[in-house]
Amino acid sequence: MTFLGMPLLPSKRRDSDPIPGGQGNIFEDESFAEVSHQHLSNQQLRNNIGHATSTIRDKRSEVVAELDDWEALREAGSRTKNHVMENLPEYLAEFEANFTDQGGIIHWARDADEANAIVTELVEANAPILDSGRREVIKVKSMATEEIGLNEHLETQGVDAFETDLAELIVQLGDDKPSHILVPAIHRNRNEIRDIFEEKMPDAGELTNDPVDLAEAARRHLRHKFLTTKVAVSGANFGIADTGSLGVVESEGNGRMCLTLPETLITVMGIEKLLPSFDDLEVFLQLLPRSSTGERMNPYTSFWTGVTEGDGPQNVHLVILDNGRTRALADEHGRTALNCIRCSACMNVCPVYERTGGHAYGSTYPGPIGAILSPLMTGVEAEENGSLPYASSLCGACYDVCPVKINIPEILVHLRNEDVEANHSPVSSQLDGALTGASWMMSDAKRMTAAESGIPFAHAVTGGDQINSLPGIAGAWTSSRDIPGLPEKSFRQLWAESEGESHGGSDGEEDGKSEGEGDER
């Protein structure tokens, strides 16, 4: 029997010297229930997000269905990442030795402040001061640098960081925050984007709202920067321990520009991005593109190993970042969240995310993965991060699509328990927040359906027995009374089946949900 996050078990990991949590853009500053309300009222946002998630979801289903060995690939991906986490010090050392051997320089950063300081120092040493009196760097989309707030920090240090990914450029020029990790500007429509470009690109002239024209404007706007800027900052999708290679997966070619043309390349990568061997790419280069953009392969993927003589940047740095990852690793019931390869599939199937969008989660990491990763990296006590694990109906769709099989619902339940222990003992003011969430859920028939489809999961958690305690805020209520066991299926589901619209046939054995495709809502 796997651990299923039953509430009120004593937590095993409280040691006297807790590992420090992360800093930066990984905090929810208002409780999710409250902030999600504001976003729910934004109809444009809901339409755009709904359109995006359903489109990407369909594309993903199609390309995943093309592979008969998809489940075996997921299993291999999950196993490999678990193995990396268990042996992380060794793989980091092996990576370091190989990367350094090839002329790369490694820096270690305990938290966001330290990483920002290291990057700033490198930029100051390698990027010239321009006529404007400031320095410039070009950037390729990187969640790690978004997490540490690098651009904002650099700005205060006299450095302008130019985002080069089209969506990131739209977000940056619009003075905005990303709302989706894959399509960060999905909350903007073409008219808004044209207006932003016309206002913020001095040389753009008059533009139409045709995406082809808008992409062309971005190309012209950035090309000179690509060809002349001396320092680039990137993230990394993979670090390969046995070769010391780094990899970036992208679409537009802005990644290749940043990784190839500047003299100095600074990469910021979390400790968890390692793969043991180059051979493991045979799995991850299948899992990631299909789960992410729903393509068989993304247009461009680049790998480099330290310095390649006569090819690309000759001054190559890597900042290896902790910033709360070790804290997440210390939670044995939550550490698989670090296996995440940031594909965003879980967001696109999440009924809560689909309605609130990414901004409601506060953190760089939105959606189901954000609801577990942010509190794991900071601790549930930090700001309102304890409210994030409630941003879910536990329907299990995220687990079904996750290419590395992170059991997000299980970790959500576990973190709700942590939240109760840490923040609501025995009853707390956040009852209000939870009730707000409940009324939102119940005021809409569709949402209610989404929530009820979580019942098989809950049934698996409890084994159908009488329930003596519930996670999260409901725990305070069940502490004084018992409620009957959950039915295997909700009335709505039974009704739908009797009408001949059968669901996938899963009734909650162990995982509480069926594997494979065709199960997406």
């Binding site: 590992i19 359109h51 489109t55 008969d68 075996a72 690939l73 490999t80 193995h83 268990e86 042996n87 010090p89 060794e90 980091l92 092996e94 190989n98 090839q102 270690w108 950063a109 305990r110 290291i118 089209l166 399509v183 500007a185 999905i186 429509n189 073409r190 690509f226 060809l227 390969i240 046995d242 070769t243 679409s251 537009e252 802005n254 290749r256 190839t260 043309l261 043991p276 061997s277 051979d279 493991d280 045979e282 799995v283 280069l285 593109p289 393509e295 068989r296 392969m297 993304n298 247009p299 680049s302 480099w304 190993t305 390649t308 090819d311 290896i320 902790d322 070790t326 210390a330 550490r335």
Partner: protein, 249 residues
């Protein structure tokens, strides 16, 4: 400063994993080493390149990795079927595909406006350009074209290391006939020659043929974005035209 950070982060990881003496880092050369490639890795000598790897050694965290992976390592397409699959997948991602048996020179010349300036890597087969009339710059160590010079080229012609049919992916590996990365990036038109012998069916077969420490670029169609209302637009920063010439010799 960062040395302390290194020790502290490794110490935190050991503590997080519940290893003895958290804070003390167990050197990977002292016998506590990760297992080799969890996915087997036959056909590679990757372990030999990694000074610290001792394949088969027990994993420090107690988690040994199942060496038998049950996903597919080889595909089922062969011969003409394999080539057709590649063509189909390349076209699906908006590459232009041309098939030639024998000498590709005429086909290549037909793809580039005569009289224009092109760049090629030093190892490119000379005969491929014999029908092209225009200015050819050879990019070689010590005679690299500058970025503005590359920007002035109408096209680049290269070979390729591997092509993966199932995903429509071509891999460049920095070899003398593929060239350094910048030459296939800055010009707006890439003519890429794929030899039939270099076509494999699925991703694992492609990965197995690569030199892991090379600077690698995987290309699947011309650059593209779907960032504006999810409408796919081909051609953003990379070459906007990708011509693939498949040569059966």
């Amino acid at each position: 400063m960062t040395d302390t950070a290194r020790e502290e982060i490794l110490g935190r990881i050991n503590q997080a994993l519940g290893r003895r003496g958290g804070g003390e880092y167990v050197s990977s050369s002292s016998g506590t080493v990760p297992a080799g490639s969890p996915t087997g890795g036959e056909g590679h000598s990757s372990a030999a390149e990694a000074p610290h790897a001792q394949p088969g050694a027990p994993a420090a965290g107690g988690g040994t990795v199942d060496q038998s992976a049950d996903y597919f390592r080889t595909g089922t397409h062969e011969g003409e079927e394999l080539i057709e699959l590649l063509v189909d997948r390349l076209e699906d991602y908006k590459a232009n595909v041309h098939r030639v048996s024998g000498d590709p020179a005429a086909t290549i010349a037909g793809l580039i406006e005569s009289g224009s300036a092109i760049v090629v890597p030093r190892g490119l087969d000379d005969s491929w350009l014999q029908d092209f009339t225009g200015e050819v710059s050879v990019d070689a160590p010590g005679q690299e074209l500058s970025v503005p010079e590359l920007d002035a080229q109408a096209a680049v012609v290269t070979a390729s290391a591997v092509a993966i049919a199932q995903t429509g992916t071509i891999v460049l590996d920095g070899s003398p006939e593929c060239g350094r990365r910048a030459i296939t990036l800055v010009p707006d038109h890439h003519v890429c020659v794929v030899r039939v012998a270099d076509i494999v069916d699925i991703v694992p077969e492609g990965v197995a043929r690569l030199r892991p420490s090379a600077a690698l670029t995987f290309i699947s169609g011309p650059s593209a974005t779907s960032d504006i209302e999810l409408k796919r637009v081909e051609g953003v920063h990379g070459p906007r035209t990708l011509d693939v010439v498949i040569v059966d010799t």
